[in-house]
Subunit: 221 residues, 2 copies
């Protein structure tokens, strides 16, 4: 039975990706990150989704506050930075984020004996992001072929991007057909008990549900 590490943020895309890994017949392990998000709401969703699918779930702590502090020119004053973040820089912004997360997933592959990484990256909604393009993922796979024990031994870690070229409504339609518990996923930038329904991410999600012809059962304010 192949074994997959699935990057699980707690959002809609990664939940559908996890469901796809399970449906592809992989023994599936979820991997999430606690990297100084302003709120833990998305991570709570990740836990609920992993529980729903009864998959093992690793949460890795990585403190990248130093990065953000350097971005806003306040190096070394991390506590203060946290208050000052706002405006142009979203609190979850991390440069080279997919690269870092996939690298850690590769490490977990090696220690768990998994042979593939699933990531719910999407080149439609994030067309401007170099780390969401197909040629990047191919290049990352090639790098792992050269730089890991598994690759050196002739069975390289595969990178699976099953929703890369789907629109939001296609992802939602697929998720609904697969009975993904969409109400457990979290897309909102805020960390309230209910989604705000007004931020860019909520708007993109609600439009996706409308276009797909489904009702979003997540709770909104």
């Amino acid at each position: 039975m192949p074994k997959a590490i699935v990057l699980l943020s707690g959002g809609l895309d990664s939940a559908v990706t996890l469901a796809l890994s399970v449906s592809h017949g992989n023994e599936t392990v979820a991997l999430s990150f606690r990297y100084g998000q302003r709120h833990a709401r998305e991570l709570d969703s990740a836990k609920d989704i992993a529980k729903h699918y009864d998959t093992e779930h690793f949460i890795v702590d990585i403190d990248l506050s130093a990065f953000r502090s350097s971005l806003i020119g306040n190096t070394g004053k991390v506590e203060k930075d946290r208050e000052n973040i706002g405006g142009d820089i979203p609190p979850t912004y991390v440069p080279a984020r997919n690269i870092i997360m996939m690298s850690i997933a590769a490490g977990l592959c090696e220690s768990e004996g998994a042979d593939r990484i699933y990531i719910g990256a999407n080149s439609v909604d994030y067309s401007g992001y170099p780390d969401c393009r197909e040629e990047f993922f191919m290049s990352f796979g090639e790098m792992l072929r050269k730089g890991t024990k598994a690759g050196a031994e002739g069975h390289p870690i595969r990178i699976e991007t099953p929703i890369l070229n789907m629109s939001k409504s296609e992802i939602i339609g697929l998720g609904k057909r697969m009975n993904v518990p969409m109400h457990l996923t979290w897309s909102c930038y805020s960390g309230g008990k209910k989604a705000c329904g007004r931020c860019d991410s909520c708007i993109l999600r609600l439009k996706g549900f409308r276009d797909a012809g489904y009702r979003d059962e997540a709770e909104y304010e």
Copy 2:
């Protein structure tokens, strides 16, 4: 003035690599990791070396204990794992370690506006490690060219491995000629006030100094 991120463990190789970055005319920023090492001695050395060269120094916290716990079959019981580690698995072992550290360095490049990463990897002492081979570093650079903003904009992040093909005695000879404060570096696996002089790492270091014709001014028990 070019700007470089140098991976600085606090060991001899990374100290020489940092000195090379400075001598190459780069504005140099050091990057170290706190990833659950059994002792902080090496990190203290990293701080001393960064201070000696008056470089900015970022220390990133990353908790990869989940990896190790899975390695020794004790998933989820991290506290217990820490006690159980020993024998075959060195406390500092992290699968895909260079990949993870270089990925985080790439993120720091993006946020700091640096255009190159220096890493003191060595393919002579670590010939069996796929992530210490030249073809891996080339492939990693190619991946960054595809997956980062800098790469997409036509000025990709460069990977510099200046001591990759040197023997330990060559590295030591070079370091001595460059006045690297070798006495500040830490190679010993133990975390005492003085190096043990008996572990594999101490033995490799002491042989290197002998072969290079220098006295190691680090303190030994």
